[in-house]
């Protein structure tokens, strides 16, 4: 799914730290601004970077999958923000008993757009970074430069590496149980929980056993020693420094703008 895709682009040649810094900048901007227009602009800028990285299509595919989640956020905000001018209500006033319930207000709509866009903006950097950076380079950047303990960084890449294997095992387990007339029908949540057993238990056992074996193999090849080197030690290049400078400028400008009221809308009536 979100795997490294080898392409020849500017973004691919940037140091992982630069890309991680970019994620931070996007996060800061998304939190500083809450105007739906500004947030939308941030998302568009991320997509543009995706296209510069020649992974534009993949980025859009991933973002479109996020729309469902964004819709949930949107609805959630509308339902729980009844302040402001009521524009219409979900249940028509003419209805008995529930008439006039669940008002949709201008404040609610603004919050809805803002929060859902913000969610997308925050997550949008993920596909671009993961498709343009090899996990081991991220590990190297985190451990060597930021001094994150190797174990934590390693956990992240190992999870990525084993996801497909575990999913494949789950698929086999599912096939095996279906062959024994295992079926998950209906909407009953209790039945659905019970139905997890035949799938979850085997995979948990298998995963624990294999994890133990894997840990052993790792230690047999020296894992856990204090000092570790990397086959590829990437260094920050000129382009990286230029980009860092750019980030600093953008952040300063953004904070200045926000203080002066740009990109911020009144959400709570004052």
């Amino acid at each position: 799914m979100l795997e490294y895709i080898s392409r020849n682009s500017l973004i691919h040649s940037l140091h992982p730290l630069t890309k991680l810094a970019w994620a931070l900048v996007v996060m800061i901007l998304s939190l500083v601004f809450n105007s739906p227009w500004y947030l939308a602009a941030i998302i568009i800028s991320v997509v543009l970077v995706g296209f510069i990285a020649k992974v534009g299509r993949e980025t859009l595919v991933y973002l479109s999958a996020l729309i469902v989640v964004a819709a949930f956020v949107f609805i959630f905000q509308i339902l729980f923000r009844p302040e402001g001018i009521v524009l219409f209500t979900i249940f028509p006033i003419s209805w008995p008993v529930v008439g006039g319930w669940l008002p949709v207000t201008d404040v609610g709509l603004s919050y809805g757009f803002a929060m859902s866009l913000r969610m997308i903006a925050l997550v949008s950097v993920l596909p671009v970074i993961l498709t343009t950076t090899q996990p081991r380079d991220i590990v190297m950047a985190l451990v060597d430069t930021l001094h994150v303990p190797y174990d934590y960084a390693f956990m992240f890449t190992t999870a990525l590496r084993f996801m497909p294997v575990i999913l494949s095992e789950v698929n086999t387990i599912s096939q095996a149980q279906r062959s024994r007339a295992y079926a998950v029908e209906g909407w009953n949540p209790i039945r659905k929980l019970q139905a997890l057993g035949p799938i979850a238990l085997p995979i948990v056992f298998i995963a624990i056993e294999k994890a133990d074996r894997l840990g052993l193999c790792m230690e047999l090849r020296g894992y856990g020693s204090k000092y570790r080197t990397y086959l590829r030690m990437l260094k920050l290049g000129n382009l990286d420094w230029v980009v860092f400078l750019l980030f600093i400028i953008v952040i300063i400008l953004s904070i200045l703008a926000a203080i002066n009221g740009y990109g911020r809308i009144q959400l709570v009536g004052m």
């Binding site: 990525l160 294997v165 894997l214 052993l216 193999c217 047999l220 020296g222 856990g224 086959l231």
Partner: protein, 290 residues
């Protein structure tokens, strides 16, 4: 040829074991030898390998007696993580013994862990991949490889730590015939081309007999037989009694000669189809058809 592995009176009982898994095992292996270890399930083959590479006692504890010395190092007393510089291990499961996404990363993993400088890691990767003839797979994702290719990556990943002895615990039992052939060829080549000492556990007696200098038969924690493939296969009664077996052609020859009331010499015992073919031809020539 100097001795590279020396095991003296090795006895081991797992903490929760009801009886010893290994009972007074003694043997030695010379540098450059190809040793095949066989026997039924539960005989102690994996336990024996674990005592050679340090898993016992560093990872699994229990009651350990006797001496295990590999490449001059007393296993029980040495730093576990550096043992791979002397003796490397390849396991049965092609999927769960490797951690990396790409072949290159996997082969780099060991040296990286030990703080080897980048340039040297690069050199080691190149040589390790060449030795198993998978240089062309360097940039591939491990998940896209066949079983035989995966096991050769596992071997390379162990070789990059420059061990003198290579242990393999049933590396082909999960593979199809092509994969099994690829792996055994690679191992044999390591042995003949660079003199790597090989100790391989397998029940594929046909391949062991074809490749090994000596075969050890384990049963119930004891070293029941040890000798050249011919010597061991001549003892077919013992083999069968403990749940092992001889290659089909050997079984055939022994049974045939027994029915003929003739004695089969060790030199005559066929270990492969070619040998057996010659033997049959000799028999037929003796009676002269027509």
């Amino acid at each position: 040829m100097s001795e590279i592995v020396n095991v003296e009176n090795l006895t081991f009982q797992y903490k929760r074991g009801l009886q010893p898994a290994l009972k007074g095992i003694s043997f030695s292996v010379n540098e450059g030898e190809f040793i095949g270890v066989t026997g039924p399930a539960g005989a102690g083959k994996t336990t024996l390998l674990s005592c050679l590479n340090g898993i016992i006692p560093h990872y699994y504890s229990g009651n350990l007696h006797g001496n295990v010395i590999v490449d001059g190092i007393t296993i029980a007393q040495s730093d576990f993580r550096h043992l791979a510089n002397h003796i490397g291990t390849v396991f049965e499961d092609p999927d769960f013994q490797m951690v990396s996404i790409s072949v290159e990363e996997e082969v780099a993993f060991g040296p990286e862990n030990l703080g080897i400088p980048s340039e040297e890691i690069e050199a080691r990767i190149q040589t390790s991949l060449e030795k198993t003839r998978i240089s062309h797979l360097r940039d591939r994702a491990i998940s896209t490889l066949s079983g035989g290719q995966k096991q050769r990556v596992a071997i390379s990943a162990v070789l990059s730590m420059l061990p003198k002895v290579l242990l393999l615990d049933d590396p082909t039992s999960e593979l199809d015939p092509i994969g099994t052939h690829e792996v055994f060829s690679a191992i044999k080549e390591l042995n003949t081309q660079i003199g790597m000492t090989i100790i391989i556990v397998s029940q594929d007696i046909e391949r062991l007999v074809e490749n090994a200098d000596r075969i050890f038969l384990l049963s119930g924690g004891e070293l029941v037989l040890s000798g050249t493939p011919r010597q061991v296969c001549m003892q077919n009664e013992i083999l069968e009694r403990v749940g092992g077996r001889t290659p089909q052609v050997a079984e055939f020859a022994i049974s045939l000669f027994s029915s003929l009331g003739r004695s089969l010499t060790e030199k005559q015992l066929p270990l492969n189809v070619a040998d057996a073919s010659i033997l049959i031809q000799e028999l037929f020539d003796e009676v002269e058809v027509g």
